[in-house]
Amino acid sequence: MRFRKLLVLVAVLAAATTVLATAAGVAAPKQKTKSVTLVWWHNANQGAGLALWNAVAKEFHAKHPNVTVKPVAFQNEVLQNTRIPIALQSNNPPDVFQNWGGGSLVDQVKAGKVEDLTPYVKSWIKSLGGSVAGWQVNGKQYAIPYSVGVVGFWYNKDLFKQAGVTSTPKTWPQFMAAIAKLKQAGITPIAVGGRDRWPDAFYWDYLATKVCSKATMQQSAVSYNFSDPCWLKAGQLVDQLLKAQPFQAGFLATPAQQGATSSAGLLANGKAAMELQGHWNPGVMQPLTADNTIPSFLGWFPFPNVPGGKAAPNSLLGGGDGFSCSWKAPEPECAQFLQYISSLSVQRRIGSTNFGLPVAKGSESSVKDPNLKSVLAARSSSPFIQLYLDIAFSRAIGQELDNATADQFAGKATPAQVVSRIAAAAKKK
């Protein structure tokens, strides 16, 4: 399972389009003699994901003997922050590369670095449902998602019971009450990986998603206008949370995923009751436990709704992974390869190995893990899924969002300052 630290994007999962999945198999190879190589950069550098992608490369070559796929796995941050930006600037980019959508994709499109896939994928793209919208720019398809998840609270059922929290909180006041009860019972309510900053931003993102209307969220990601008072309100709710001191000691220096003392490790080892994280968290937690198993006490509940918020109830925050073809990639071979990744055969394996939450219609049943099933159910029934804001925004603005919220967590920025810093970063753009 690949651990995405900075995740990815998503977007609107349109409410049920009921178009039947068109053939998810691969179109017959064109009778072309030219042989091509697809260099494929992805972030699954271990475990089930690595094995799956290596198999997929071989299978595709078997089906298309003239196409050789050369997968290259990178550590996620190295790929996202260093390799892809630099390679896209050179004259020799990879043909297929990981894409998280959002503001970075918009920048890549503006610079002419990614191939417009619309003509190649028209015939089958509907099999992926509404999630593909997050990888469109101006109505054109520039990347194809293979996994989309949502953020929510992973929690320890035993500790909840011990503190007398009998049902998972549905609303913000219930959530704050649960924190108070856990504290009274001498339990650290929440673990957070403050060192990495993006886990802090999840709280701000999520509260904004709950208190701002869908229209405000969508329009702000384009215009970078943050004058709506709901943005300030989100920061004030973060302050309210911080005042309750729900986090572990030293949370500002805690990494999110590395080692048993990371925030994921604290939850996995019963040292904290909750963590707000993405769908990948069980995979992160498993090896951090002494016996290398996903703890049986683990449960999942969606982020509570905020009374008085303008968002439709059950609006969620999430993101996903996809692949793009660079402007140098051979077509239609590259698009055919993406089609193969979107096929039911591959999508089902993504689900059954817990590598991700597949997007192709008909692949949902491949997800067997009960917690991931609840994540998938929340994803399917949500009226609106906001892409992680640091991905949705252009890169520089997203980074400032992470930094400003991390400063707020450290007591170095007020809610008003967070908003004004993000707006200021947007002006430089």
Binding site: F3, N45, Q46, V72, A73, F74, Q75, N76, V78, T82, R83, I86, Q89, S90, N91, N92, Q257, Q258, G259, A260, T261, S262, G265, N269, V284, Q286, P287, L288, A290, D291
Partner: protein
Amino acid sequence: MAAPRRSRVAPFSNAPVYAIAIALSAVVIVPIVYVALGGFRTNGQLANDPVGLPHPWIGHNYVNVLTSSGFWRQVGNSVIIAAIATLLVVTVSSLAAYPLSRFQFRGREAMYTFFTFGLLFPIAVAALPLYLLLRQLHLDESWLGVALPEAAFGIPITIIILRPFMRNVPGDLEDAAAIDGCTSFGFFWRVLLPLSRPALTTVIILSVITSWNNFIVPLLVLTEPNHWTLPLGAANYSTEHSADTAGVLAFTTLSIIPALVFFLFAERRIVGGLSGAVKG
């Protein structure tokens, strides 16, 4: 270079000195020993008691690393790259240090200053243009693509160390060499280089260590795991196996050893080499 005798130091004053020396070296060495011991524990032991001794001792973390082909391939890549980079930087820098130290010509100091500029610029900045350049030269994914920039970045400090040393070689030797019919290159090759051996050893050691530990250049140039150097492997290992703290500690310990062994053999010489450089 043997240390001069200091018979005037009264023996009794050594007791507190030993105490201080042992205390300070404990501060230096305990972190490393702690990590090495951590490699002999399980993750469960580490999680339950971050501080304890291995109980029982577990060898498989080390065995796993030592039996993985990746580790040895990375050691090999690191050795080859360090060798090429060191050979390059020492060759070109000693050639350049010769006229910069012993010739009289206009612009000599300006040239020297120009070379020392390289110390002042952080490598991370030039990363993007450097990477594009290497791709244009088709040097990406090659040992040379890593060794050439590493050698280039080593030139300033190498010249700075070699120049005063070469300058201090007495001029009489040069005159004598000339009388024996030595050319300028002959003097450089047969007299100056052998006499500069302590300084050369020093720059070789520094160059090997710098190349061995370099992270950003191989990160840019080498994408294929088969081509990786040890630091890339270590960084990747510690993120890929971020959960496997004990394994990371074992890997860390083992990747220290080659540099330590190399230094053990070279250590005696470095002190002599540096003293030439810093006396000016």
